[in-house]
Symmetry: D3
Subunit: 128 residues, 6 copies
């Protein structure tokens, strides 16, 4: 399997309906909840690419471009966009979809860095 195939195969999607349990007092998705879902998406993408123990090292700049109203649907999409020796990076985007029209736009985007570790918590090669 080529790297391109492994990247494609590990692309990870999470759809979610924006209900009151996830919103703030503006009746939009709470930013912290968005970040939690982005980290989960990134972690799953990284693990499915490497099939090794991955830990989050950092998130780079995350841009909150659009507020996400209650009563919409979001899709999170994670894709590996950099592969280093013992680390990799995952780009995560959140798209808003209206429920009752085809309108869809990007709302939030960010990038997360992970390292692969062995059972003694020492860094190991991503590609074996």
């Amino acid at each position: 399997m080529t790297l391109e195939q492994r990247i494609a195969q590990s692309e990870t999607r999470i759809f979610k309906a924006v209900f009151p349990s996830t919103t703030n007092h503006y009746d939009t998705l709470f930013g912290g909840t968005a970040m939690q879902l982005m980290d989960e998406t990134a972690f799953i993408t990284a693990t499915r690419f490497s099939r090794q123990r991955m830990v989050t090292v950092s998130s780079n700049r995350i841009d909150f471009e659009k507020p996400i109203p209650s009563g919409t649907i979001i899709e999170l999409h994670g894709k590996v966009d950099y592969i280093g020796n013992t680390s990799l990076k995952v780009q995560v985007d959140i798209y808003i979809e209206q429920m009752y029209s085809e309108f869809r736009e990007k709302a939030i985007s960010g990038e997360f860095t992970f390292v692969a570790i062995d059972e003694n918590k020492q860094p190991v090669a991503i590609l074996k």
Copy 2:
């Protein structure tokens, strides 16, 4: 857009890491949590297909074929598999993926029925 294209475009996926907050005392995914995620997947699939107000009418038989251990990844997959006049059905399957191998198998499957309603809660045609 053909019906086949609308069905394909509304296919909905949710990945999730199985962490302690979702498990029972056997250290496997709690069945009720699986059902909650399945209904959310089915609802989003139905809404994205019809772009109308959808309400759950019933779930058909749901089979829990395999327990889902803590520390695995699951993928829920929803796809419209029947379109009636004012109702539609969505098939939802849950797959387990090991974190550190490519092994993957189906764990739970079920089907959900939804009806489309207007603002007065009266049934309306799925396909306008």
Copy 3:
């Protein structure tokens, strides 16, 4: 103790106030949350009847007869309604109660099948 007494003694009730943390964008109880509570009720009923390790095998058809508005009270009621050799079935009903009147009606009903297993995950007799 007769079977009838064991069935009566294992009847299980869960009351819950329907607050915003459990509702969808229609301001009614999210169907997936109802299913999660039904499976928990069924599991507790099955365990209290058999006093053995029980695992969910399947849910049969679940009918969502009435939407459950925010600001109401629900009661879930579970009762064993079939006893096989290594499996049993639990009927679960959800009733809505208005907060400020005595009005009460059935909203959702379903049936769950469980098997009893030993420590090696092999089926064992329900009635010892």
Copy 4:
């Protein structure tokens, strides 16, 4: 309906399986989660007795007599035990049940005071 009948009819029970999502680092039910469930039980009992808008005024002493281990079942039981002019009190007890034996004992008990209010938040008579 007599007062005794109203008290009996408003008795409220909540069963719950103690899973990891509710436990602390001692692997027992977190005390704060127990208190949250007790207040919910008390509020539902008070509302079902009075069928009026009830607000919590205070909880009296709550005794944590026994720790509640993960992997057990609890039953919360609420019952009106005092009726004043504009207030009432609800006694709430939590019982532990072992899953695989009939052993059952009281673990936590407390009492909650509520007042009935009208739409302008003024106290009103409990018994009309």
Copy 5:
């Protein structure tokens, strides 16, 4: 370090924004959620003071003086206010802050009693 310094150093604060996931049908903070946060504050205060295994023995009277509306900020404050041989008490107050003015007032207050235990769950001295 004097006792006064230890008490000051173990004072514990938790700020929280009151969003829909924590509110009841009156659109105010659910009393049970307030109690859960108070117990968490008290437990952390007691542990940080004693640096020993602490378990909740009881809560004394908790007064709900003011309702806490959605869209406000709360601060919980915990402070040791009694030190016995094997037990201690923690006073917990909740303050409401308006988001868009400096107005702040006390809303709920209570006191929690903890005992220190060793690994065999026997009481041990608070001050060693």
Copy 6:
């Protein structure tokens, strides 16, 4: 009140006990949960400083320096560290404290940018 006083007065702290409901399969605090708590801390700090409607624009690089084991206590600390015309920045640090020793160290740090908006969602001056 000087700017320095306003910055000091709006410093915001959140203590939290790391229980199983917040951990991943490594038995450490899930990174996404840490980010959610950091955004809540930053939002409350920004709002308490400006007393205006604040929305998250971006998070800068967040460094996960140390894993946070289950059974520890964390303190989040937020402080305004930049004030622009219509935006401000909040530094958020997470410290780990051992429960049974005085050991404490910084585990995660990051910075969040907010803008102040009026009721029409137009940017307004931070300092009026």
